[in-house]
């Protein structure tokens, strides 16, 4: 964010506690001192108000970064994001563009309860006019965020509080990653596993590691990186070679993110599949407070291993 704000004077950051508190999760630490109160702004607790403010400002030449303390809090400003950010370009016949980034923590963190644990990817990924991005490594967080800030379309940038302490190699300098492109994190021949963001970081990588080392299954792992538009080409190329596919997310299965991915890929892959596509997801329940109940509702390493073994008939 600092690099992009140094580079372009029209970029500014706005959100609850981003300035004087130095960020609810310390992400914007030091930014108020560096850029001043015109460019790093604390807001009142008014998600619809400041989301709409950002959209209006984006229509008039600025490039706002609007931080939500949690994506769960955006249910109160759904109208601004879905009806304004996503639609203004279309409804005006292309006269306006909305170069805004909305970012914040998404998904199940830990014991935050049913109202603070929403996975919003499927809510926003179905909306034409939005770009939805989910990094899964520190390097991706930098590369994808820089690209999102430079992108002229409204971006839903899905982070996770639980990934903020993750450590990894991050290229220095002006490092960007393209939007709308998935990456094959681990090439393989036996089965394709598709995931993104927090579930990929939390359980899919450990599961793939065990599948390769202990179950002798050569998994090809796809990290989607962008959920809308979906890079179906990379998925189709992969499963055409491996013939087996498992999708993993932390969403609800019915109408969830993986269900949307299934819709796009099942027909082109029909003749190449040797087993039905497996979809590993959360239980369809509000998120409980108790640690063990919460853990039980989410995909597990064992559950993912079982799903991959099932499509391999092993």
């Amino acid at each position: 964010m600092i690099q992009e704000m140094d580079r372009d004077p029209n970029v500014f950051l706005m959100g609850e506690e981003v300035a004087e508190y130095q960020g609810a999760y310390k992400i914007s630490e030091g930014m108020l001192d560096r850029f001043g109160p015109r460019r790093v702004l604390d807001t009142p607790i008014s998600e619809a108000g400041f989301a709409g403010l950002g959209i209006g400002a984006a229509c008039c030449g600025l490039r706002p970064i609007i931080e939500f303390m949690s994506w769960s809090f955006t249910l109160v400003c759904l109208d601004q994001i879905v009806n304004n950010a996503a639609n203004i370009r279309y409804m005006s016949g292309g006269q306006f563009k909305v170069p805004i980034v909305f970012r914040g923590g998404n998904g199940i963190a830990h014991q935050l309860g049913a109202t603070h644990s929403h996975r919003v990817e499927s809510i926003y990924s179905r909306i034409p006019g939005l770009i939805v991005v989910a990094p899964s490594t520190p390097a991706q967080a930098k590369g994808l965020l820089k690209s999102s800030i430079r992108c002229d379309d409204p971006v839903i940038f899905l982070e996770s509080e639980k990934m903020l302490s993750e450590v990894g190699e991050v290229p220095a300098g002006d490092y960007t990653l393209p939007l709308g492109v998935a990456c094959i994190e681990r090439p393989g021949a036996d089965a394709t596993v598709i995931s993104y963001g927090r579930p990929l970081q939390r359980v899919v990588r450990p599961a793939v590691d065990m599948l390769v080392k202990e179950h002798n299954i050569d998994v090809e792992l796809i990290d989607l990186r962008t959920l809308r538009p979906l890079d179906t080409q990379t998925i189709i190329d992969s499963v055409t070679r491996t013939h087996r596919c498992v999708i993993v997310d932390e969403d609800y299965g019915y109408c969830g993110m993986g269900a949307g991915i299934l819709q796009k890929i099942h027909k082109p892959l029909f003749d190449y599949l040797d087993a039905p596509i497996e979809y590993v997801h959360c239980d369809e329940i509000p998120v409980p407070f108790n640690h063990y109940l919460e853990e039980a509702m989410m995909p597990s390493v064992d559950g993912i291993i079982a799903a991959v073994r099932e499509v391999c008939y092993r």
């Binding site: 400041f50 403010l53 209006g56 400002a57 008039c60 279309y90 006269q95 909305v98 170069p99 179906t232």
Partner: protein, 350 residues
């Protein structure tokens, strides 16, 4: 000379070319009267096009007849090099006042590709970026935070511009009203909130929807001036708007103005107005903003009754031509439905 120049905006001088081509410049008052007439005629013609067999206008359509003075007042003070206007769905009048041609507006109502939004917006979504007309929005109150954001951009870039943020008496009760007024007051943004209070939100009168009957008081608690103004008296509105504009341009912050008016037509085309009495409607006609202004201009000797009639005929003809033209314009190609969703293109697109 642009439309807004003629009305007195863009810091134009107080004279403009005479509409009838007579010798000597005519005051901006004539242009203002003409614009109110143009809006009225456009709206009444829209009513006809909507209701006649072979209906050319579909969907929702919200007419501005009776409220014209408010849009014209904003245009009369508008500086299109740096000001913005954002609105709800009753947006035909403001769009015409800011200079949209009746042909372009009618074409949009007909859904034609020559419409301001290429047929993809419709009556509720008239936009014209180069005029500072930042749209027509459909969700009640959804536009209010947008207006605050546009003012934020003016504050951030230090342009001295102001944003007229229009809303109705119904929108005052939406949550975004509270949030937007607080943000504008807190950040001291150059917003002019204009509540067009026509007394009724669809069929629900203000005294059945607002605990506080004096809507100017709904602007209280946000650290900004909040006033009522007679929404049927063009000069009174211009005077109030001018104060708010100056305050905003000087960086002194937002204002909240309630323009009390009346809409002669229903909420939208499907409204049979069963919630109104005949007496109420007849009383309202006595304060028709166009009639009020015509009487004033006659008394001041600016126009004769004959000149007013001629002006009306000219306006009628202009609207007729606009409808004929819009009627002949083409619908968008079917493939047009995939255009203008995103500003960029992406490598893979299922």
């Amino acid at each position: 000379m642009s439309v807004v120049d003629q009305l007195g905006g863009n810091n134009a001088t107080r004279t403009s070319p005479s509409p009838a081509g007579d010798a000597g410049p005519a005051p901006v008052e004539i242009a203002r009267l003409r614009m109110m007439m143009l809006i009225r005629r456009f709206e009444e013609r829209t009513f006809q096009e909507y209701t006649r067999p072979g209906q050319k206008i579909g969907g929702f359509c919200h007419l501005y007849s009776g409220q014209e003075a408010i849009a014209v007042a904003a245009a009369a003070l508008f500086d299109k090099s740096r000001d913005y206007l954002v609105n709800g769905y009753r947006c035909h009048g403001h769009s015409l006042a800011l200079g949209m041609s009746p042909r372009t507006a009618m074409a949009e109502l007909f859904g034609k590709v020559t419409g301001c939004s290429r047929g993809k917006g419709g009556s509720m979504h008239l936009f014209q970026k180069e005029a500072g007309n930042n749209g027509g929005h459909g969700i009640v109150g959804g536009q209010i935070p947008l207006g605050v954001g546009m003012a934020f951009a003016q504050w951030y870039k230090r342009t001295g511009g102001v944003t007229f943020t229009f809303l109705g008496d119904g929108a005052v009760n939406q949550g975004t009203h509270n949030e937007s007024l607080n943000l504008a007051g807190l950040y001291r943004l150059p917003v002019i909130f204009v509540v067009e209070n026509n007394g009724v939100a669809m069929g629900t009168q203000v005294d059945r929807s607002s605990a506080e009957k004096d809507l100017a008081e709904r602007g209280c608690g946000y650290h900004m001036p909040h006033h009522n103004v007679d929404g049927n008296d063009l000069d009174a509105i211009i005077a109030e708007f001018a104060k708010a504009v100056e305050r905003a341009r000087l960086g002194q912050g937002p204002s909240y103005l309630v323009a009390n008016t009346y809409r002669f037509r229903g909420h939208s085309m499907s409204d049979a107005m069963k919630y109104r009495t005949r007496e109420e409607m007849e009383r309202a006609r006595l304060r028709d903003p166009i009639a009020v202004y015509e009487v004033r201009l006659c008394e001041r000797g600016v126009l004769t009754e004959k000149q007013i009639d001629d002006l009306q005929k000219e306006v009628n003809e202009q609207i007729n031509q606009a409808v004929v033209g819009a009627d002949a314009d083409p619908h968008p190609d079917l493939d047009e439905r995939f255009n203008d969703i995103l500003a960029e293109s992406y490598p893979y697109h299922a």
